[in-house]
Amino acid sequence: MENLARTEKDTRWMIRVGLASCGIAAGARKVYAALNDAMANQCSNNVILKQTGCYGMCYNEVLVEVCSPAGESMFYKKVKPEYAERIISEHILNGKPIAEWSIPSDELNGLLSKQKRIVLRNCGIIDPESIEDYIAVGGYSAIKKILDTMSPQDVISEVIRAGLRGRGGAGFSTGTKWKLCRESAGFQKYIICNADEGDPGAFMDRSVLESDPHSVIEGMLIGGYAIGATEGFIYARAEYPLAVQRLEIAIAQARERALVGEGIMGHNFDFQLYLRQGAGAFVCGEETALMMSVEGKRGMPRSRPPFPAQSGLWGKPSNINNVETFASVPWIILNGADAYAAYGTETSKGTKVFALAGKAARSGLIEVPMGITINEIVYDIGGGTSTGLNFKAIQIGGPSGGIIPASMADIPVDYESVNKTGAIMGSGGLIVMDESSCMVDIAKFFLNFTQDESCGKCTFCRIGTLRMAETLDRISNGKGTERDVELLTELAQGVKKASLCGLGQSAPNPILTTLRYFRDEYEKHIYDKKCPAKKCQALITYEIIAGKCKGCQLCTKYCPAGAISGEKKQPHKIDSPKCIRCGLCLSTCRLGAVSVH
């Protein structure tokens, strides 16, 4: 529980309110205001109310942490503004924590004991809009250390030794990437932070930028120093307004303190930092497309070689890393490569942040050492499924990733093991699926996503993904034929092999992995015209179980198609041809009298 330790030397009570997007969406601003008011009413001086970022327990937002002067900490979950007065009066003024609102210690323990917070070290602890807070927890001491004591080569070899691999997904050695860029000929070089997080269900980067933007800036300064870049760009999604706002504040603060600009910390090191906002194109997360977008052009990937390290932004040697990678760097510099390499496996060192989503009971942001098993993540940290249905599979790596079945969930999460399953590590999206998830439907969802987000440049991705999505659509509509599986396999392999960029090359992964692990589900759709997960509308029928129906007429009221009929207090009936299979009757019936086949 080291992360919970107080870092500030202060003897006052402290209240932390998680004010990242997840908290704000749950109403944290109102809670913050209510606490502020309550403080004003009851006590004014000896309590510090602090806004922080996300602590990762998104399922529990609004999250409020109360720290006593003695350093004891307590988390309140799902806090409402009404709670404020009592928290102040009972917990702070009377020293009596309110047990019924707090997160039970076993839950907290389960959630945190298997985590190791390196990237997220400051998230939920410091005020992201305060450079003083960041400096107070040792911020900007890593850049000071390297400027004072290390040559660029030293930095590079330290990062190589730490075994840090690109957290954007591809997992290329960060140090080696820096080395290649450093060795590339040219005076002008650029370093770019990829903050264009686009995977559905992934929010690691947003959280880090909202909770601890300075660690990213410091990481970029270190990278810039290492490769010899004097200019840096952060390419962030415009859909992350809070992240953008906090980044702007952070850059301004850093510039004010001469941590960005000319002659940083009195050394002969100049570094300018600019923020660019992307317009929400998924493909702009691909590094060559990202550079096009930074240049002001339509974000379309280009073929490599030449690699960005040789010819990148405006044709100059450039280096791109993602948010998480940069955020790891200051920790490595301060704690040493060995400390970092102590975590993880032989080839995948350190920790990885995951956004645990889908049907996980405890969804949110977690950081775990590499090599942890999927089961540990799903059950120990995630608390199993939220629905109580059996855990079926996990989608890892976003739309470019793949699906790993529950039967293989004992594999360690590291780059090599995940790749072996046909999925990829990706940027850290983990979607937990239970038995109600149809694998054809899941594959269709991701294919539709990649089709919509394809930049349209290369033939295979532009048309191939559509043809695959259409085929999946046919199958889920009960119009699939034997040839369709062949067609899917053929297309998936072709698109994977021949697409121009990572988007197209990985777009077939959801199909290939579901075909590999859940082929029987495809076959049931095609030959039996049945959807085992009861998801595909065209293949299911709703029926009212006469014995259970009490004729309350609730379903009749809700049915948008007018397909349900029956006298009051008499068992109802669904007119199958009229039924549009929306499932409203199933969800409205309180007696469980609606069944799906």
Binding site: G456, T459, F460, R467
Partner: protein, 1224 residues
């Protein structure tokens, strides 16, 4: 050049270092397929067709963008790659909506290029049309009358109103060809000596004979009948196909053959064996199917029951027939209708047709049925004969059953079924059974195997079971149509030709064809915008005029009707079909476009979107070439990608019409589009497509000298393109080069001489016009003297023409008042400021230069092709400085953009020179060694102190200093001058700047002067100036005058003449009495007003002057597409123009000029423009003819035009003291 070694498909090769894999393969002659690559553009690797396997790489790599590395092992042709490419193409074509080939052509068994010939008819090119038709059908006179017209059934116009009258148009063309005197004759190949026997002179035999004869083989036709034609002659009545017409068509074929043997039956008069013995190396059997089918009913053998074809044959042979009063014809095909109508003509009282289905199902042509009805034939439909009722062995009635239509049968038509108990009888004196024909197996030699009573052949090769013996037509297929027989004949000719050349006989490869689909599957809404125009009906003889006779009923289309009808054609087939890269690859990779069938784009085509360009996004493959060429090369960026994923389309910003975007109409996008998605609007009524003949020419609009290809079809220019491999513009063109020729096609052309009478121009004969000119000009010469005469010429004329014009002026009119219009810088100033023979720079230097300075007006606007070269250089790292007041698309690329008003550029240049001299930034060694007059320059320039003028500019002095320093430091700086806004003095100062900094006369550095008309340089070189004779020889030098005088056998006038400006001023002041203007370009600024003040004026012009005052005489002038000769561009490269069209007046410009000169008293005699250039070459150094290739003139200095001989010290030519340094 440094080479990189690599292994390609197992072969050790090498290629230029720095190449991509694709370029390396190309350099070694290996082809890697691609759609998105254009050598002019940076690679993009979008289409994924150029994928290759590189050893050691994880997956296939795009060859177009992957750099070649030493020792690379590359595979381009594995099965895996084939499959990936096939998949890419199948994916692309799964979203391709359009017709490669129009459905009419596809429906035609003979594959006649229907859209092509209809377009030719629309454009009035009938000769071309018959030629095109005869490529697939040698019997258009016949087919134009009797074809069953499968094409019209598939005509997309069915979706609008009625099909185009395709066949009537064919008949019109064929009739036109027959009646216009000189019928089309095919080109014959050299005789091969091979002997071929054609057995059977019907359509199949005749077609085979025609195509084999063209191939140079000796063809003999054998026929058992007394005349050729087969069923055409003996099966089709005279009123439909007059025998006289048939005879002419047959004669046009037999005239190409060796011999025709009539009344010679196979098996009786000769055998296959005997033919082989006689030396026939190949035999084509086309016996037809001439025995009639039986009705297979009781009483059929009674007298009075005839077969349809037997009856028709007897009538045609002139046999007397006694039909009685009532005639009943059984059958629904053309033979039945023919028999019925023939019977009527033979005075039968009542003629009925009995047919078992309804009228809709009758296989006969609908017009025939209609006409039969008009003539009085009765139709008894849904009736099938069951018995012939006979009395005394003679038929008296036909017993029939009533029928009803059941479910569709194998033919797709509904099957007739008997209604039980519905029997009825029809009284009949004669019953004609016309229900079909059979092959008469008795005539087939025993050595040939049969299949279902027909001759058995190999479908692909048409070869029978006996080697060397081929067969086709009805005797193989059973009774079919004329057009199918013709198709078989042509197919056989191809096979036999291959056989005779010892090749394996292969079926004709089927090209990939994309189709919009069958008529029933097309959304009619697509054709909503097409105006409804009724089909032209075939004019027919009035009923009275055709009763009881065999006169041809259909009289044929008039020319006007043909033109109107052809305009109804929707031009379904793709304009790009002959050049489409996608189609070519789809064929090569055996693509099945339904394999990945799914959602398609259906995007409406906005034909009015742009004046010159049509975009059909349904055919776009998103290769991005147009987008890239528009931004990378043209620097315009009017096109981009809109939307994402499958919805991605190429479009303009926010999808505004292209004409409202930043588009500059250069047509570069069209030049790079690999499919038919981008096409030019063709300035013809119908656009074809056709296979076009390229004629190379040179653009006349500016002195860049872009190479053009006039793409010709017959006597029409369809479009202008440029070859990628030409050294001047590398396939790039601007709007003027690409589209301006359209103006030369204007309807207002002068075709004959015109003389002014009563304020009007009226047509006159050449003699009259020339006599008038001679009379008037001579009068002025005698009464007022030659000084009162002046000559102006356009720099759009060729060297040859200009050379003759100055000869005419000096030797016939005895005047030195000669001028030409070539931009604001007059000839005299130009010659004096940019030294005589020096060409400082070539376009090549732009590419190798490290600094480019543009000065004057917007180069990208006025000289876009040079701007493209600048852009390319800047992209490779060359620095750019732009000086001028206009905002240019080059500004954003410039390292320094000096926005300076046109009128103070001279101040800038003086200040810059002052700065260079003051701070001693001079290349003294160069100045000392090569130049003279430096002291004068210093004296002059000292008047203009840098510091005292810098306040005048709106740019910081430091910017100007930066420009000077960049220019001095540059290794190979090139100055590009847009002379449209630069004065002679400014040009002189620029030259001085180049001299004192030593940035001249060195490979890769110098000055390029861009001027407007295409032959601006030639105009000066040819001596169309008051001060200079050809070759810039000063006219005021007595020795020079003498030299030329001796050569031309006449004294050169020695008075000082007026230059262009002088002449124009003099005209305005009434000081000129006689004026000759060659090309109205020469007086563009002044316009017609120039003719007001002269006593007598002559204008040689392409177009009629639009308004008064008119010149006294207007002579026709041929445009550049009508001329042959040479232009000299700004690099001093002499380039050849070839003639695309004949001159509008059918006289060459040089011919007219020579005639005028001769008539005026200086005899000129030239046989060709080559003779003129020979004379020029003798007089001007550098204009030497290429001795190797007599047809073409050499490029003046091939590699580096700037290394021309420098003038010598003792050359005492014009010198402006104090202004310009001279090299020595």
């Amino acid at each position: 050049m440094v080479k990189t070694r690599f292994i390609l498909n197992g072969k050790n090769l090498e290629s230029n270092t720095g190449s991509t894999i694709l370029e390396a393969a190309e350099q070694n002659g290996a082809v890697i397929p691609t759609l998105c690559h254009d050598p002019r553009l940076k690679p993009t690797a979008a289409c994924r067709l150029c994928l290759v396997e590189v050893e050691g790489d994880r997956g296939p790599m795009p060859a177009c963008s992957t750099p070649l590395k030493e020792g690379m092992v590359i595979k381009t042709n594995s099965e895996n790659l084939f499959k990936l490419r096939q998949m890419a193409l199948e994916l692309l074509l799964s979203d391709h909506y359009g017709d490669c080939i129009a459905p009419c052509k596809l429906a035609c068994p003979a594959g006649i290029d229907i859209q092509g010939y209809i377009s030719l008819v629309a454009n009035g090119q009938y000769q071309e049309a018959i030629k095109l038709i005869k490529e697939s059908n040698p019997l258009p006179l016949v087919c134009g009358r009797v074809c069953p017209r499968f094409c019209e059934q598939k005509c997309r116009r069915n979706l609008v109103d009625e099909p185009v009258a395709i066949n009537f148009l064919k008949r019109f063309v064929a009739d036109y060809d027959l009646n216009n005197g000189h019928s089309y004759q095919p080109e014959m190949k050299t005789p091969t000596g091979h002997k071929i026997a054609i057995i059977g002179g019907g359509p199949a035999g005749l077609a085979a004979a025609y195509y084999l004869a063209i191939e140079g083989h000796s063809v003999t036709i054998f026929d058992a009948n007394p005349a050729l034609g087969g069923m055409l002659r003996y099966g089709i009545p005279e009123y439909r196909l007059p025998k006289q017409v048939l005879d002419k068509e047959i004669a046009s074929i037999t005239s190409l053959c060796q011999e025709t043997l009539l009344n010679a039956a196979l098996g009786k008069d000769f055998t296959i064996e005997s033919l082989k013995k006689e030396g026939f190396q190949a035999i084509f059997i086309a016996l037809g199917a001439q025995s009639s089918q039986k009705m297979k009913i009781e009483g059929e053998d009674s007298s009075g029951v005839l077969s349809g074809i037997g009856f028709l044959r007897n009538v045609i042979l002139g046999k007397q027939m006694n039909l009685g009063n009532k005639v009943v014809v059984v059958g629904g095909g053309n033979t039945a209708v023919d028999a019925a109508r023939t019977a009527l003509r033979l005075n039968a009282g009542e003629v009925s047709i009995v047919y078992r289905r309804t009228r809709q199902e009758m296989p006969a042509n609908s017009e025939e049925i209609e006409q039969a009805e008009i003539e009085g034939v009765k139709f008894i439909l849904l009736a099938a004969p069951t018995k012939v009722i006979a009395e005394n062995g003679r038929a008296i009635a036909l017993e029939c059953n009533r029928m009803t239509l059941g479910a569709p049968d194998a033919s797709g038509r509904r099957k007739p079924e008997t209604i039980p108990g519905s029997q009825f009888t029809i009284a009949a004196d004669t019953i004609i059974a016309a229900i079909g024909q059979n092959v008469d197996a008795r005539g087939i030699p025993q050595e040939l195997q049969l299949e279902r009573n027909n001759i058995k052949i190999n479908e692909d090769t048409l070869e029978t079971t006996v080697p060397g013996v081929f067969s086709g037509g009805d005797c193989v297929t059973g009774p079919a149509t004329v057009i199918e027989a013709i198709a078989a004949g042509k197919k056989a000719a191809i096979a036999i030709n291959q056989y005779l050349h010892g090749e394996t006989v292969k079926p004709v490869t089927c090209q990939y064809n994309c189709s919009k689909g069958e008529l029933k599957n097309i959304d009619v809404a697509e054709y909503d915008v097409v105006p409804r125009i009724p089909r032209k009906h075939m004019p027919v003889l009035a009923l009275a005029a055709r009763q009881h006779n065999f006169k041809e009923i259909e009289t044929g289309f008039s020319e006007e009707m043909a033109k109107d009808e052809s305009a109804r054609c929707l031009s379904c087939g793709c304009q790009d079909v002959f050049e489409c890269k996608l189609r070519e690859l789809a064929t090569e990779y055996q693509v099945d476009d339904t394999h990945y069938a799914g959602r398609k784009h259906y995007l409406p085509i906005n034909e009015n979107e742009h004046h010159y360009i049509i975009r059909d996004l349904n055919k776009c493959v998103l290769c991005g070439r147009c987008v890239r060429i528009c931004s990378e090369i043209a620097g315009v960026g009017a096109l981009g990608f809109n939307f994402r994923g499958f919805n991605t389309v190429v479009g303009t910003a926010v999808n505004i019409p292209l004409s409202e975007s930043t588009c500059v109409s250069c047509g570069q996008c069209i030049s790079t589009c690999p499919t038919g998605a981008l096409e030019e609007k063709v300035n013809l009524i119908k656009p074809g497509p056709w296979e076009m003949q390229p004629v190379t020419s040179i653009c006349p609009y500016c002195n860049i000298g872009c190479n053009l290809e006039l793409r010709m079809v017959g006597d029409k220019i369809v479009k202008i393109t440029s070859a990628l491999d030409n050294p001047i513009n590398n396939g790039n063109l601007c709007q003027r080069g690409k589209f301006e020729y359209l103006h030369t096609l204007s309807a207002n052309r002068v075709k004959v001489p015109m003389i002014k009478r009563d304020h009007k121009l009226v047509e006159a004969s050449w003699e009259e016009a020339v006599a008038l000119i001679v009379k008037e000009l001579k009068a002025i010469m005698v009464n007022e003297g030659s000084k009162k005469l002046a000559v102006l010429a356009s720099a759009k004329l060729t060297n040859e023409e200009l050379f003759l014009i100055q000869k005419l002026a000096r030797l016939a009119l005895l005047t030195n008042n000669i001028g030409g219009l070539n931009g604001p810088i007059t000839t005299k100033n130009f010659v004096s400021s940019i030294d005589n023979e020096i060409v400082h720079c070539s376009y090549h230097d732009i590419q190798s230069s490290d600094l480019i300075v543009t000065i004057g007006g917007d180069v990208s606007h006025n000289y876009p092709v040079v701007a493209m070269k600048i852009r390319e250089a800047v992209d490779k790292g060359t620095r750019l400085i732009t000086i001028g007041h206009e905002t240019s698309s080059l500004n954003t690329l410039a390292n320094i953009d000096l926005k300076i008003k046109a009128r103070i550029i001279i101040v800038l240049l003086r200040a810059a020179l002052n700065y260079i001299i003051k701070y001693n930034l001079i290349d003294s060694e160069f100045v000392n060694r090569h130049t003279q007059g430096f002291e004068d320059l210093v004296k002059e320039i000292n008047k203009y102190q840098f510091e005292s003028v810098t306040d005048l500019f709106w740019v910081k002095p430091t910017k100007i200093i930066e420009f000077i320093h960049l220019y001095i430091r540059a290794k190979n700086p090139v100055i590009i001058v847009n002379t449209d806004t630069i004065s002679a003095e400014e040009l002189g100062l620029l030259t001085d700047m180049a001299y004192i900094t030593g940035n001249l006369n060195r490979a890769g550095s110098g000055i390029i002067t861009l001027r407007n008309p295409g032959n601006a340089q030639g105009l000066i070189d040819m001596g169309v100036t008051s001060d200079y004779l050809p070759g810039h020889r000063p006219v005021d030098n007595e020795a020079v005058r003498k030299e030329f005088g001796n050569y031309w056998h006449r004294q050169i006038p020695f008075f000082k003449g007026m230059d262009t400006g002088g002449i124009i001023d003099a005209v305005k002041n009434n000081q000129i009495s006689g004026l000759m203007v060659f090309g109205d370009d020469a007086i563009k600024k002044e316009g017609n007003s120039i003719f007001e003040n002269v006593k007598f004026s002559v204008l040689m012009s392409t177009d009629l002057p639009a308004e008064e005052p008119y010149p006294d005489v207007v002579l026709p002038l041929a445009t550049f597409v009508e001329s042959e000769g040479t232009f000299t561009n700004c690099e001093h490269r002499m380039q050849h123009l070839n003639r695309g069209l004949p001159p509008a007046s059918s006289r060459d410009n040089w011919e007219i000029i020579a005639q005028l000169a001769s008539a005026l008293g200086y005899h000129m005699e030239y046989k060709s423009s080559q003779e003129i250039i020979s004379e020029i070459a003798r007089l001007i150094t550098g204009y030497k003819r290429d001795t190797v290739n007599e047809q073409k003139v050499t490029i003046r200095c091939e590699k580096n035009p700037c290394l021309m001989s420098l003038p010598t010290k003792d050359d005492n030519r014009a010198k402006e003291p104090g202004k310009v340094l001279k090299t020595v």
